[in-house]
Symmetry: C2
Subunit: 506 residues, 2 copies
């Protein structure tokens, strides 16, 4: 069997894995959108069974053998010299995916999955009662299992490397730490500076905005952004998300608040940013494991670039505000573009991450990164977590939770063992600003086009530079290729300064 | 390994098969309801892969061995004498399901599936152009493969036995033939008698009925009938259907016509009848292969009993017409109960089966039964089918299609190889009337309850007598147990006479 034959066989295996993963994704999408309430118990059994079948196929020794025959490795170009560049990229991605799966023993996978189910249930109750102590034993168990997981997976420098690698492949903890160390003081200083300035009024965003009209505006936004409605759809769910159910099936959900206009609009723009990435993989890789975001950081760069950089920009609303005001004349016809622009960009240190503005957001992430690396290294005990949380909130953002529900219990992630995930949110903002700077250099007339409602040049640029290659390039390779340098937080800080100094007259 | 141990192991295998079948059913439900149009191609690959995994597990030699150890057989009680009655019923049902799957060679399954896909596509085009000749080669291929299928499956008396057994387990062609022979002349005579009487006016059903209000009425009907909305839901699709996606997840779809009130209402009642069966299996069998309709004939008895016998009865509308008129005052406030009742029960020989009333419906089925048995036995060549169809339509219903689209090409079934399916529609009417007669004997005050809108006693009776046992009893066993005799078409004919003589003043 030649290396090329091995790749062909691996492509067949991958194709079936993709189909199974998409079937599993449909089960999850349906769970969040249309599933009747009492079906929940069996739904989790259905998902677990499909995941088990996927695991068995992906981790199988025959896949290992085929990868060996193809000469697959984590290097680039990966694989036998006889392979083409695209075969090499495929080999590298499959090598990584198989390796992570094969290194986890079945009993650990099952234990983690059980602890996640119990942990999530316990977290829900604990958050409702704002009682960290009832969640603590579950988190202890999850942290212990997660540590075992890092030992099974292996790591170059420290255990947390093995965790972040799941979401941000090839990224090291030390790199994140170095980036965040540079970011933290500059961000904190800027937040303080804004905090001392006059506040902006956003009262008109909190009037009554009937959701059916919001949905109508959301549809207009989607087509304006270039979302392909023949290959996707928009629904409603409690927590907005984007999911891919097939080559030609990328679905978004949004959440609308009839009493707060921002919630729906910006969740739609955010998720559409994710969806455009998923709809934009090149024909060559569609339907394969390379047709996926190359990292969560890059994925988040797409959602946040659209949501914040484009979707909260003045030219964007110079086109869309009149459209919006047509739907909500009583609420918005007297609101000037400038007031609207300031209102949707109001900055305020707050307790809850998912409600945070783009300036303070990074500090919420840095806090979580500090705490979860300390939990994994053993420097922080679970019992000491709430105090550490509250202390860090005070230091980083100058606010203090009244209780654990709006503090350490606010996020679901840890309760199902997703440790190593949070940094990708902040990396998304950084990648997004850096990509945007490159885009601006190459599309000098961009603001004018946005103000005319023509977003096609932006999508075309993102398609060509970011979306098309999917996971063919790593996040790092992509960043260097498109922007000419490695990830550099200066772009994000500069973007914030240039945007918010005028808003706050600083 | 004891017989009991074998059953336990089979139960585990069955459990996973159920989960996979429900995952596959979700893929199909989504395809008909929410899937974006361009996802269709990959969706069929997803379903085919899951079906392949199901086939492999179900037909596996290890299942055959376990069944042998359990002493499973087609008999009742099936299995080793050490087994309990419920274990025996499980063994019999699994034996049958495995046997049918294992006897079909993989190459035939694949050929049939390909021919079905191509056949359905060709049928769509042929029907649009009303051109049977372009569909004929596909049907020839499907008939040939179907004959090979009957030889693989085996049969007691004639090849068609192997086909009807898929949908109506244990039913023989000779039994169907004997029942239909008794039915045909009596039905034809009655239709002729009605045809000679004055016609009823149903013009007010063809006014404008906005579909959002129809949906509201449909929801009221569902809760009135006892549909459990926590364990199911109602959506819209081009062709109404009911599907089960889990123990606690039974979904209905309906189709509404804003210009014809009957379409939506009766599709909802019909599908709800199916859904109540699926929601009504006893706790003991829920989640196993016994939690399914015991035959399509019995399933259809439930949908038609609700749709026609209850849902087109005078007491039913004496409660629901005022409710309906509240939603559509302009259209219905001047319509008397009697006129409404006559209108929804208008009888008229027509060309299209799915639009047929309950009196002429059986003749549409008898025609198809005659033709498809002749195709399978070789007595009728595919090329002669359109002429045979038109001749039979004239003889049985006294109407003649102008073209193949409203004749031999009207149904989708044959185009994907579903031969042997049609009889179950008529058997449903017969079982339904026979079950209803038993219900009426045991619930003497039933009409009064219906007129008060209290349908709970009917559902309770059906739950206890029909739904709870699922596939534990065969259709024949169930019919005898509940009604005291084997399937007898006299009940249906008597029901028609008693209902339609007054309507048509005969």
């Amino acid at each position: 069997m030649t290396a090329h034959d091995a790749i062909e066989r691996l492509r067949e295996i991958d194709r079936e894995l993709q189909l199974l993963e998409h079937a599993s994704a449909l089960l999850s999408w349906d769970e969040e959108t249309y599933m009747p309430p009492r079906a929940i118990e069996e739904r989790s059994e259905q998902v677990a069974l499909l995941q088990g079948i996927i695991h068995e196929r992906l981790a199988s020794p025959s896949v290992a053998e085929l990868l060996a025959r193809a000469g697959a490795s984590p290097e680039r170009p990966s694989g036998d010299p006889a392979l083409s560049e695209s075969e090499g990229a495929f080999a590298r991605a499959f090598f990584r995916k198989h390796g992570r799966e094969a290194r986890l023993p079945a009993d650990l996978v099952i234990e983690l999955s059980k602890a996640a189910t119990l942990g999530q249930a316990a977290w829900r109750g604990a958050r409702k009662r704002s009682d960290f102590s009832s969640f603590a034993p579950h988190l202890r168990k999850l942290v212990a299992l997660t540590r075992r997981k890092t030992e099974c997976l292996g790591y170059a420098e420290e255990p947390y490397d093995a965790l972040i690698d799941e979401y941000e492949p090839w990224m090291k903890t030390s790199e994140v730490r170095s980036i965040f160390s540079s970011l933290e003081p500059r961000l904190a200083r800027f937040v303080a500076e804004i905090g001392a300035a006059r506040q902006v009024d956003d009262g008109f965003l909190r009037l009554s905005y009937p959701t059916d009209l919001q949905v109508r505006f959301a549809s207009a936004l989607l087509s304006g952004m270039g979302f392909d409605g023949e290959r996707g759809r928009l629904d409603v769910s409690a927590h907005p998300f984007t999911t891919t159910l097939g080559r030609d099936d990328v679905r978004i959900t949004a959440r609308y608040d009839a009493g707060y206009l921002k919630t729906g609009i910006f969740s739609v723009i955010h998720e559409c940013g994710h969806a455009l990435y998923e709809q934009g993989f090149s024909e060559e890789i569609r339907g394969s494991l390379l047709a996926s975001g190359t990292s969560l950081g890059i994925h988040e760069s797409q959602s946040r670039l659209w949501e914040n950089v484009i979707g909260r920009s003045r030219p964007f609303w110079s086109h869309y505000l009149p459209e919006l005001a047509k739907l909500f004349p009583a609420q918005l016809s007297g609101v000037a573009l400038d007031s609207f622009y300031r209102a949707i960009n109001r900055v305020e240190p707050s307790l809850i991450r998912i409600e945070a503005d783009e300036v303070t957001y990074g500090l919420h992430i840095i806090l979580r990164f500090k705490l979860e690396t300390a939990l994994v290294s053993g420097d922080l005990a679970v019992d000491d977590l709430p105090d550490a949380w509250n202390r860090e909130m005070g230091e980083l953002l100058g606010v203090k939770p009244d209780n654990d529900a709006e503090g350490v219990l606010q996020d679901v992630h840890w309760s199902f063992g997703a440790i190593g995930y949070f940094p990708t949110y902040a990396l998304g903002n950084l990648y997004g600003a850096q990509l945007f700077a490159a885009m601006r250099r190459e599309l000098p007339g961009m603001d004018g086009e946005i103000a005319r409602g023509n977003l096609a040049p932006i999508l075309a640029w993102l398609r060509a530079r970011v979306h098309a290659s999917g996971a063919t390039l790593t996040a790092g390779e992509l960043c260097e290729k498109v922007t000419g340098e490695t990830l550099n937080p200066d772009y994000f800080l500069r973007y914030l300064e240039e945007k918010y100094r005028p808003i706050y007259d600083l």
